[in-house]
């Protein structure tokens, strides 16, 4: 009896230790990389001088752990995507040339992710201006960082967050000379100047995505990926500022957001996060306005008739 309990306790402890070890191996594997790749400096032991030396990290190779944790690939080990040879430092120089997997390599033709329509997105992307100018050099990863990417449009219920997330993808390049010139010989046009015709520019960029104006809405896709040249961009205010706003079929269509509408006029006024002039008409208010207007005019007409009769 006593030995049985002891056995149980041992198994229990062993199991616990094993679990502990297992979860540590996953974490510690990444942690080893992250020890260097999350701070501005790293320390290496120099076998020639036999000294611990502190060095500067290339700022473009510093990762953000918070975003890593929230990304869709947070369960991955670094070496699931990168070569295991990175486990040693100095890294093997050849590794720089190692081709990395693209979204389509893993997700293409995979029914598990059918709802994301990866293949159609690729098709659309290949029609876009970005693909036109630099073909395969412009990968999905230029916009979607594989470390951090999260499908904001379907997970967030804040329009502002979706907009910010999406626009930052474009701005990270269009507002950065360095990134931009990896792709182009030209200097990046100043977006503020390019969009000077748009009033309340800052407000617009916080409330609509660049892709609202720069793609044609594809009803069957969550996010249109076919970015056109500038001549085809939407400049017409009415496209958004009207009751059949294009935003209804793009930004505002997302389930997570539209599920909140249809809660009645008052609730809607109170809970709406966005107000786009021209798109929103409260039915009950409209009727009230109409009744008051008709009443006023009718009153005047009757009064006028009396004035004419009694003259």
């Amino acid at each position: 009896m006593f030995s049985q309990i002891r056995k149980l306790v041992i198994i229990f402890i062993l199991g616990f230790v094993c679990l502990q070890v297992q979860s540590q191996t996953i974490a510690s594997e990444n942690r080893q990389c992250l020890k260097c790749h999350t701070s501005q400096t790293f320390t290496i032991y120099n076998e020639w001088t036999e000294l611990n030396e502190k060095r500067l990290m290339n700022p473009f190779y510093i990762l953000d752990t918070v975003q890593l944790k929230t990304g869709v690939h947070h369960t991955f080990k670094c070496i699931d995507c990168h070569s295991y040879e990175y486990e040693t430092y100095p890294h093997n120089g050849e590794l720089k040339l190692e081709p990395l997997m693209t979204c389509i390599d893993c997700h293409g033709g995979d029914d598990t992710y059918a709802s994301f329509q990866f293949d159609r997105i690729e098709e659309e992307f290949q029609k876009s201006i970005h693909y036109e100018i630099s073909e395969d050099r412009f990968t999905c990863s230029k916009c979607h960082n594989q470390h951090y990417y999260k499908a904001t449009a379907r997970s967030s219920n804040s329009i502002k967050e979706i907009v910010e997330y999406s626009n930052n993808m474009c701005l990270s390049c269009h507002n950065s000379m360095i990134e931009y010139q990896l792709m182009s010989e030209n200097t990046n046009p100043q977006l503020v100047q390019v969009h000077e015709w748009l009033p309340n520019q800052e407000l617009h960029f916080e409330h609509v995505r660049c892709i609202e104006c720069h793609t044609v809405v594809e009803d069957s896709l969550m996010v249109s990926h076919n970015i056109h040249g500038k001549t085809l961009a939407t400049k017409n205010c009415i496209e958004c500022h009207s009751t059949n706003s294009l935003l209804q079929s793009s930004l505002y269509k997302y389930q997570n957001i539209s599920s909140r509408s249809g809660e009645g006029a008052i609730k809607n006024i109170l809970s709406n996060q966005h107000y786009v002039i021209g798109t929103y008409q409260t039915q009950s208010l409209q009727y009230m306005f109409l009744i008051i207007l008709i009443g006023t005019i009718a009153g005047m007409v009757v009064h006028t008739i009396f004035r004419i009769i009694k003259k």
Partner: protein, 204 residues
Amino acid sequence: MASMEKLYLYPLWLRIWHGVNALGIVVLIVSGISMQYPSTKFTMLDFGTAVNMHNIAGVIVSFSFLLFFLGNMFTKNRKFYRIKPKGLRKRLVKQAKYYIHGMFNDSEAPFPISEKRKFNPLQKYSYVAVMYFFVPVIIITGIALLFPELIIEEIYAVSGVMITAVLHGTVGFLIFIFLLIHLYVASLGKPPLKNFKSIINGWH
């Protein structure tokens, strides 16, 4: 109104002020309506133009209101707007009755215009309501919409912009109704164009 002697009722500054206001408000209403009901099929005004016109006219009318407000605080003109609660209802009813049937029976206007009394009671109190309630509300909400960053973004999931915009639109509509009635009542002069002439040349 039967008396024939002429009264110099509206000094030049007042007529200019009134004219600027009138023009501004008409522009605001037209551009406001075309912003609220834009459509691809029929457009009174191009949306961008409407926004610009609305902004400019809004600023002008706001300044004009500020003038009015300060003027009424520091000049004699305030006496026309003083609220006298005693017998208020009676006076309002009396004037309303005059409009509804008195004027058809050739009765005398109960509150004839004089130098001391520029407005009849209904007129006065509707002006007070418009100038001291509706217009300030529309100006404040308007400024907030001009600088949406100023509006508290969200109080308890209440979007500041949405509620401000609905308020702005509603009050705008009420001022529009006021304008219609104002114009109609102005046409009650004898002959109908008399009052319109006097706001232009000053003589009543």
